[in-house]
């Protein structure tokens, strides 16, 4: 297993190189003027051209790619943001804690509310509870995040005044509404996936065997059924975490949370190349690490996958001899 993880970590290098080259090429062919957003709307074309020259944006593709790769992978310098003037890495670090808080809270809500909902829906298949929770899940998925966010603000902040409307100044209170709004879709998809994979598992023979052993229905559910249904659920949670760490722009915009999502999106609209490229690289790294973690958890949960990771030689198939002493 360690060998597998080692191999995967080595694979990170080509992945990071791939991301760097891909994102650079995208920003290269991507139309739009970083100079424009820097100098403001009342800049004239002549001034813009001078600024482009000064930012070295007119050099040929290969020169700029070489310079960029050298800066990033040799000197580990992601450059400074055109708009903010601060280094990209510092910009991301300043904003990461807000995105992290939202991401972790939402993932917790997704797992600890979504999964039980899914299990209950599966165990009462086609029962009332199944219909109700599945309808809620569908509503959760199709409601646009900003709509839910603004409705929550209207009720809890403006009318009831319990919670702040936006900003991050009020400690945990300012993260309650954003997390509920942001996690609604996550809970919905978690519940749906859990229900679907639990339904698959509940009808298999080893569940009948478990029941026949006299285990209580709770033990059968949580010790035998759920572990077998985990694989798709792990994929959803892993992927969700990866996305969340990239920040959720809509929630960060509506609740004025200075997170990574807004930082990146503003950078894309303003064509702030260093921030976009640096941010994508770091988020790409985090994403690949999470995907590696997901694969490891796969192996941890399901020995058959672990066997496939370790390749053919180690996991031997028992020869069908088994004669041994044969009976008493």
């Amino acid at each position: 297993m360690i060998r597998y993880i080692g191999k995967r970590l080595l694979w990170m290098i080509p992945v990071m190189l791939g991301i760097a080259i891909l994102i650079f090429s995208i920003m290269y062919i991507c139309p739009g003027e970083p100079a424009q957003s820097l100098l403001g709307p009342s800049a004239t074309a002549v001034e813009l051209a001078a600024k482009r020259e000064e930012m070295g944006l007119n050099d040929p593709y290969i020169v700029r790619l070489g310079r960029y790769l050298y800066d990033t992978f040799i000197r580990f310098d992601l450059g400074t943001s055109y708009k903010f003037g601060t280094s990209v890495f510092a910009g991301l670090m300043e904003r990461k804690q807000y995105t992290l808080v939202v991401a972790l809270l939402c993932m917790a809500l997704q797992v600890f509310v979504g999964t039980p909902l899914g299990i209950m829906a599966a165990t009462h298949h086609n029962g009332l509870w199944d219909r109700v929770s599945m309808f809620l899940a569908l509503v959760g998925v199709s409601i646009p995040a900003f709509w839910l966010a603004l409705m929550l603000v209207l009720i809890f902040a403006v009318n009831l005044g319990w919670l702040p409307t936006s900003g991050v100044a009020n400690g945990i209170a300012s993260f309650i509404l954003p997390c509920i709004a942001n996690s609604f879709a996550g809970i919905a998809s978690q519940a749906r996936h859990t229900r679907s994979s639990m339904l698959e598992v509940i009808r298999s023979d080893y569940i009948v065997t478990a029941k026949a052993k006299g285990l209580s229905s709770k033990t059968v559910l949580f010790k035998h059924a759920l572990p077998n249904a985990l694989i798709p659920i792990i994929t959803i949670v892993g992927n969700g975490m990866g996305m969340m760490l990239g920040g959720t722009v809509i929630i960060e915009n509506v609740f004025a949370i200075p997170g990574v999502g807004r930082y990146m999106t503003d950078a894309i609209t303003a064509r702030d190349y260093p921030v976009v490229m640096g941010g994508v690289l770091i988020l790409g790294l985090i994403f690949s690490l999470i995907m590696l973690l997901v694969d490891i958890v796969y192996a941890f949960v399901d020995p058959r996958i672990k066997a496939q990771y370790e390749g053919k030689k180690k996991a031997k198939k028992a020869p069908d001899v088994g004669t041994a002493k044969g009976g008493a």
């Binding site: 080509p14 891909l22 920003m27 569908l138 998809s189 749906r192 679907s196 009808r203 798709p232 995907m291």
Partner: protein, 292 residues
């Protein structure tokens, strides 16, 4: 006596796909979903003739008119009838939503089964490429596509579906990994079925379920994403109505005139609901153990 026998024979003749369809037709909920979907598609196709008003006709008098008898869903900020815009908008939203979800699913399933079936080298290479693609923010990918390939429906669908592919592949790969080493798969291989047959008739039916769920859930935000594409030269240009665009237009008036957002939101929800009902039905039909 005879009835059971005939059922048995007929089933055997239809083969696996026929049986799945046969069971699917029996599932009432799935059929309701299918019927509504067909109704929506028909409404979208006929919309130019059956919409009560011209979707682009603005009128100063009826700005933000609340839902009334003349305007069932009320009017938007430009005095245009929301009901007609939803009916006409269904063309763009449904087409874009369904086509890109379909494209993402087909590519995802193909790639996912290859990755799941072969494992080892293929698995590693494809998954790493997916890691790379998934690191790029969706908006940037769309801008790059619009810049490199130009605008047009084909590129819009490409931009919308690229986002969905990695997720489908990961889900499929996950569940194939558990099924891959099952005895019945090895048995199928031992009687040297073609690789394609092993994948389609043995591996996929037992591992497709999570993909169906994720795809049917994903259509909702695919439609929403289509709106953000119109700013970068892809997707539908104003004033052609499109549900996602209607929602973002109504966003600033959400507290004063909520009906601008409610009805497009409901429309999207109905589409997601139907697809999920169909998806559930399909998944149950694929699982022979499911008799009820």
């Amino acid at each position: 006596m005879q009835k059971a026998v005939d059922a048995g024979i007929r089933n055997r003749r239809q083969g696996q796909f026929g049986q799945v369809m046969h069971r699917l037709r029996k599932n009432k909920v799935a059929m309701i979903g299918l019927v509504i979907m067909i109704l929506l598609i028909v409404m979208a196709l006929l919309s130019p003739w059956i919409t009560p008003y011209d979707y682009a006709k603005t009128s100063k008098a009826e700005r933000y008119a609340l839902p009334s008898l003349q305007h069932l869903f009320g009017c938007d900020g430009m005095g245009r009838d929301i009901l007609s815009r939803i009916m006409y908008g269904a063309r763009a939203s449904l087409f874009l939503g369904l086509m890109s979800t379909l494209a993402a699913t087909v590519i995802g399933v193909l790639l996912g089964s290859l990755v799941g079936y072969y494992g080892g080298k293929v698995d590693n290479i494809v998954m790493r490429i997916l890691d790379i693609i998934q690191a790029i923010p969706g908006m940037l990918l769309s801008i790059a596509i619009s810049a490199a390939l130009g605008s047009g429906i084909g590129n819009t669908i490409l931009a919308l579906s690229i986002g969905g592919v990695p997720m489908t592949v990961r889900l499929l790969r996950g569940s194939i990994l558990t099924v891959r080493k099952q005895e019945y798969i090895e048995a199928a291989e031992k009687i040297n079925c073609s690789k394609w047959r092993v994948i389609t008739s043995h591996i996929l039916p037992n591992s497709i379920a999570p993909v169906i769920v994720s795809v049917t859930m994903g259509i909702g935000n695919t439609i929403l994403q289509a709106a953000s594409l119109s700013y970068i030269g892809l997707g539908v240009q104003p004033p052609t109505p499109e549900w996602g665009a209607m929602l973002s237009e109504g966003k600033s008036m959400i507290t004063k005139y909520p009906h601008l957002c409610i009805f497009p939101g409901l429309a999207i929800m109905i589409v997601v609901l139907c697809l999920n009902m169909l998806g559930d039905g399909l998944r149950d039909a694929m699982d022979p153990k499911l008799k009820n």
